[in-house]
């Protein structure tokens, strides 16, 4: 592994360049289903972070002991354990959030992002890199969720993290906190990011040519 990028690069890539939601298009189900408010998006991101980092840690630790044929099943067992722990903990310590997120906490187990990272990275790399990769991906995921949740909450409820932003006369754009709003928000965000990328690519091109 001579050309392997440093720990910093492996961690930071998940935040933007290989952002799970905006670039890799993984973990879409929770990204849209529980982002009707910023706090819900944050909670789902936090729970997913717990599962992803924990699973990557264990998978990396035992990567040389897990036979190839049963690796997917073993990954799933590990992931499901962490998810159940997260589910029970949320139910015990934050029952209101648990009700808001509902069945989607359990669905973290089929979040293609988590299984994907185990298969593609954690099972093939040393502990610090695996944890770094997991943390970066989870961070990028959480940021994406807060962004989508924040936009939907601002437009659909007139608040941000529960704090009302506009006066009483603000007529909320209710559709934003309903399912179509989720699709539309993500679609618009993708358009914005695509335009930004296009301009920055063009700028790099111009710089190269001059």
């Amino acid at each position: 592994m001579s050309n392997q990028p440093g720990l910093y690069e492996e961690t930071i890539k998940g935040i933007w360049r290989e952002n799970p939601v905006f670039v890799q298009m993984l973990g879409l189900c929770p990204a849209l289903a529980v982002t009707n408010s910023a706090i819900n998006g944050f909670a789902m991101g936090a729970a997913s972070t717990f599962v992803l980092v924990g699973s990557s840690l264990l998978v990396s630790m035992f990567r040389n002991l897990i036979p190839k044929q049963v690796r997917i099943t073993t990954f799933i067992i590990i992931i499901a354990t962490f998810v159940t722990v997260a589910d029970l903990s949320l139910q015990a310590f934050t029952p209101l959030l648990h009700k808001e997120l509902g069945a989607f906490i359990a669905l973290i187990v089929v979040n293609c992002l988590i299984l994907g990272r185990q298969e593609a990275f954690a099972s093939r790399n040393r502990l610090p890199y695996a944890v770094g990769d997991a943390a970066g991906m989870a961070g990028g995921f959480t940021i994406a969720l807060i962004m989508v949740g924040g936009i939907r909450e601002i437009l659909g409820s007139g608040s941000f993290f529960g704090v009302p932003l506009f006066g009483d006369n603000f007529e909320p754009w209710v559709i934003m906190i309903l399912p179509p709003g989720g699709f539309l928000t993500l679609g618009v965000l993708l358009i914005v990011f695509a335009s930004v990328k296009k301009r920055s690519d063009k700028r790099k091109q111009v710089r190269l040519e001059s």
Partner: protein, 211 residues
């Protein structure tokens, strides 16, 4: 790197077995550790709801149906039950009746207080609903709507009428823009009454005669 050579079947079974064992241990311990907290949260939520729909009540008892009669029970775990609330003097305030049914979007779950002496509803609280935010979910917040349930006669039947026209004691004004959700709430309460009212009224009468 996961082992490249084909591992023998024993190795596979052992790996999965160990993983399962480890997982099982973790889950059992976390489950046992969190159960008391989870149960307490559930009880607190239910208690808060019961006392809100039975104003003045400070203590409660659980009642379930047994052989066509209302019988006191230790807990409501896993069975359908109603909750009798008593004021500090020990007098019956009313029965908190949980009920659920279809709303506009999905199931609405609520609890309402029934006073068997006056034969009226004395409170209603929506516990769970997925009604449209800003429209149907007004059944949770609209104070006028909720006030309609503070002294609502149940005989012969609770009726829903257009907003502003509810003059009779057994009528509820629907919320404009949330007609279906309002009607659903009343329908759910009527169904709850069909189920429990006879049992409760019979019990109350027999208690009255016993005194």
């Amino acid at each position: 790197m996961p082992t490249e050579n084909r591992a023998g079947p024993i190795r596979l079974v052992v790996t999965l077995g160990l993983a399962g064992l480890f997982s099982g241990l973790v889950l059992v311990s976390v489950f046992l550790a969190t159960q008391p907290l989870i149960k307490r949260n559930q009880v607190e939520a239910l208690e808060a709801a019961i006392y809100r729909v039975l104003p003045g009540a400070e203590t409660r008892k659980v009642f379930v149906e047994q052989d066509g009669k209302l019988v006191e029970a230790q807990s409501a775990d896993g069975v359908e039950a109603v909750f009798a609330g008593y004021d500090p003097g020990g007098k019956l305030v009313g029965y908190g009746i949980p009920a659920a049914g279809g709303g506009f979007q999905d199931i609405i779950s609520l609890i309402y207080g029934y006073d068997p002496y006056e034969k009226q509803i004395i409170g209603m609280q929506v516990l769970e609903s997925k009604e449209t935010p800003g429209l149907g979910d007004k059944i949770i917040k609209d104070q006028n709507f909720l006030d309609d349930f503070k002294a609502l006669k149940v005989e012969p039947e609770i009726l829903v009428v257009a907003p502003g026209t509810g003059a009779d004691a057994n009528e509820v004004d629907s919320i404009s823009g949330a007609t279906i959700s309002s009607k659903a709430v009343v329908k759910i309460i009527n169904q709850g009454n069909e189920k429990w009212r006879k049992l409760i009224d019979e019990k109350t009468e027999s208690e009255g005669q016993a005194e």
